[in-house]
């Protein structure tokens, strides 16, 4: 990876948990960030595709240049919308987890939006640019994903702590089931993604960190709102989560992930397991 991703990792290491929004207003703001990230990501993807096209002789250069300019115009427009007092608070937010790198990202995006891109196929900087764009895309996606998880955890937290209904009521149980069903589904998806051969190695380590943070948050929620799953599965779950949390990032092996996934299958394939109340906990 390129040098500007080092800051990314450094900040990330210091972070112990996924920050949650404080209020509905915060949620709104994060939603805004998510939209902005998606929109910018789309323009970056658009430019990337056009640059790929320009590598070949028989393409219409003039048309490509024009299209790139159009994409850049869109990008400037989006950046302008989210710009407040010469900064991009929406992009450089604490939710993005990587303040240092987001400053770099902002700068680079601004540069990209205004850059004159030359379309000479012999130009090696074109390929460097393509590399950079791919990295942008990955970062933007990663940030969007962090926000998604943050919102998801917030949603779960809110739903569980709302106590709109009495503690043992059917409705409250239904909510709890749904919340944990969704969270466990997310964990299962992460297990599958992290074991997939289609995930590049550099992205994998990044997502592994996010995964560990997610597990931490789930453990926290789980302790606060214990749900009854069969005691054996429950013990397995806690021990695997503990094992994952104890291990160094690089040591989380594929086998652990598989074990976690099969455990999730055991729980999720039998949704009756997610019944609150009766079962004993440690």
């Amino acid at each position: 990876m390129h040098s500007n991703s080092i800051g990314f990792r450094a900040v990330h290491d210091n972070l112990s948990s996924i920050p949650l929004p404080d209020s509905i207003a915060d949620v709104q703001r994060m939603k805004g960030i998510q939209l902005a990230l998606t929109a910018i990501g789309r323009t970056v993807t658009g430019i990337e595709k056009l640059l790929y096209q320009s590598v070949y002789e028989n393409e219409d250069r003039l048309f490509i240049t024009h299209s790139i300019k159009r994409e850049q115009k869109w990008m400037r427009k989006i950046l302008k919308t989210v710009k407040i007092k010469n900064r991009y608070p929406l992009l450089g937010d604490r939710f993005i987890l990587n303040m240092a790198s987001s400053a770099v990202l902002e700068l680079s995006l601004e540069k990209l939006a205004c850059a004159k891109i030359s379309l000479n196929p012999e130009n090696t900087s074109l390929f460097l640019l393509l590399d950079m764009l791919r990295e942008f895309k990955q970062k933007l996606q990663y940030n969007a994903e962090v926000i998604y998880i943050s919102l998801m955890l917030y949603k779960s937290d809110y739903a569980l702590s709302d106590q709109k209904y009495s503690t043992n009521s059917q409705k409250q149980r239904g909510i709890e089931r749904l919340v944990f069903y969704e969270l466990f589904t997310l964990v299962r998806r992460y297990c599958t993604r992290l074991t997939s051969s289609l995930l590049p190695a550099d992205l994998k380590s990044l997502y592994l960190r996010l995964f560990v943070l997610l597990l931490k948050a789930i453990k926290r929620l789980h302790t606060a709102y214990p749900i009854a799953i069969p005691s054996q599965a429950h013990n397995d779950l806690l021990s695997i989560i503990d094992a994952v949390l104890r291990a160094e990032y690089d040591q989380i092996g594929t086998n652990t992930l598989y074990a976690l996934r099969s455990l999730m299958n055991k729980i999720l394939n039998n949704p009756h397991c997610l019944i609150p109340g009766a079962c004993a906990f440690g």
Partner: protein
Amino acid sequence: MEFLSDLNEFIEVPIPDQEIEKNDQALNILVDNRTEPDNTTTKPHFNLSRQHFKNLLSDLDAVTAQLDRIKQAAESYAKQKNSAHIQTVKKALNKIQTIFEYNIYRTGMSGSYWSNPLYDFRVWAGENMDQGERMPLGYMDTKSDGPDKIFVIFQQLQEMDITKTKDTWESVYEDFYALITFEKVRINSYLRRIDSFEKFNTILDQGASYYALKSKIFDIPTMTMQETMLSTAVRYMSLSIELLEEIKSAAKENLKALPDKKAAEALAFHTEQLIDEVNRLASHGHFNGMSLLTGRFSRNHEQATSSMYILLGAEMSESTRVYIPTLTAVSLVVPGNMAQPWKWDVYEAFTSEQKTNQFIAALDTSIGKIKQSMQNLDQLAKKLPEHDPYSKLSFDSMYQESMQYFLKSYSLTIKNLAYTAQPEHSINTQSTLVLLTLRNAHELITEKLINMRELAVQACNSVYNDQEHMKLNDEFAALIKSIEKITEQTVFNGEKILHTDSTLSSDRSIKLDLVCDEDGIIQKQLLLFPLDPKALELSRSNYFLEINRVDEANRAIGILDWALAKVNSNKARIGSCLQSVFIAEYKDSLMRDYIKLLTSAPKKNNSAATYLEYLGNLVDFTKHVYKKAEEYAWMAMSGVYTYNDREQMAFYFSNLLHDVQTLIKHAQTLSEALPQDITFNNQQKTKLSALVKYLAKIGAETSNFMEEIKNSDFLRSIGSARNVFEKITWIISIKE
């Protein structure tokens, strides 16, 4: 709950209905009816060849005119002794030489002898490589590079002296005249042949569009395939009858012209060409890559009829054998009383009246026989039902519903940042994205390869000159580059998934691990041939495949056929993987429905019923997948499919069986890990135990069955397909 749903709505980006519809359409196109490029067409080239022969004919007419002038001048000289006639003869001879040198042999300079151009004219006749046809003209010995006979005699003719007596030059003159006349007869019969080529090709095209892209073959109903096969055979037969009638009229003409030996020889030549045409029709007339008219389906070599199995309904008993007669010349033209039919010779047959009459009688019998079998085939075609007994649509429409959920996440992922699926979407979004990306790339590459093949086939002709060849070659190279481009741009997560350079590629294949369902239990390993030009052997480091010359173009056709085979094999793998993804998606959707029921109406009394319903749905779905597998076995029982088709069917089939096995195991684990807090009443208990028993039985049968077919050539022949079909029908008939 209300707040939760509000929040949900707030967090999920709503998709406008239009967008979903659009994606729906896109998926429909991807899954069902993608229009394929037309099959190769040969029309421009036929016209070119025809023009070539017409030019030759007019040149030879001019030569004959000059020869007439020479004869006239010589006769006048004999009477008047006018020296102007000597000049006329010289001029005429010079003119003939010019015509030959510049128009016909194109040697371009006087003095060098004439060889080749009249000779060695190649015409491409059809779909396959071995159908490159030669139309020899001239009289050159094939083994030597010597001069044409026309040249040798023309040199003798040039020495003619009309001042001497007629005997000195007349024989040479007559010889030369006869040569030219005969050449004209040949050219006329070649022109006739091109017409028949064209007719043949239209018949071929009508049947050939079905197998041009083999991976689409399963989308065509078997009944349609069979009907097309029958009608193609009938068309071939009627063309054959047309040829036989023409042969008959030539023979009748021979009866009139018989005392004249030269006329008889010319007629014999014409007939020989027509008989060759009959043979060519027999050997080239094919459907779906099988030759129909050579008695290939006969059980032993003594039996001259050929037969194949045709399906008339869903049951095994509802199939019949169809006989297509052998239409080779030996079986049609040669009189029946010949002891050694391969020694029969048309030149000999045309020498006497008796032999010609025998010949005509043989033709009449053959025509009658062919007409009879044409009638039979027509009747059989009428018996075929309009639709397949297995409705492909019912299975697919089942997917369509479950795919609605997938479509939502699909459009979101496409719209989002990168290709990689984000965690909010179901896990098979990623697999489907990879597969659809691959599928699109494959469709594009197939199109390019077929275009290239078309060009190479065109370049196989001597009709084109060097510049035209170069133009063809330029286009060819551009297509190779575009294939390179497609493989470079088929990128997923920054990984080129169709290129040899990819880190996923090893040992000349690309390995993709795909997880199809949320549980991660339906997993597929997709092995693909890389398709970049280097891997397809279309280019090396500094070299592109070329079609600058006829032999290069011939070689290119072979390489392209190989490349197309690779692409088709890939397509079959991708198709069967997509099928697994659909199955997985349906399985997940059942689970989602179950969860929805549990959360929306969490009444304890109902939970046992809900649980049983879910389990029952899962078992029903298993039967559906089995039904689909049965369909493949049924298709394989029809004779219209080739070995390669059956191979692909077997691939789809075994994949489906694997999925069925996974589904059964999944249902079994579900029924084993019964939730403790659900109470079943007696009726429910019996139902549950029946389901469990059924699962155990069908699971055991499935694994037995898979063990049985593991190392056998199942579905590869009609016999084994029948066995498999029988077995699978039996498994489906097992009752709960």
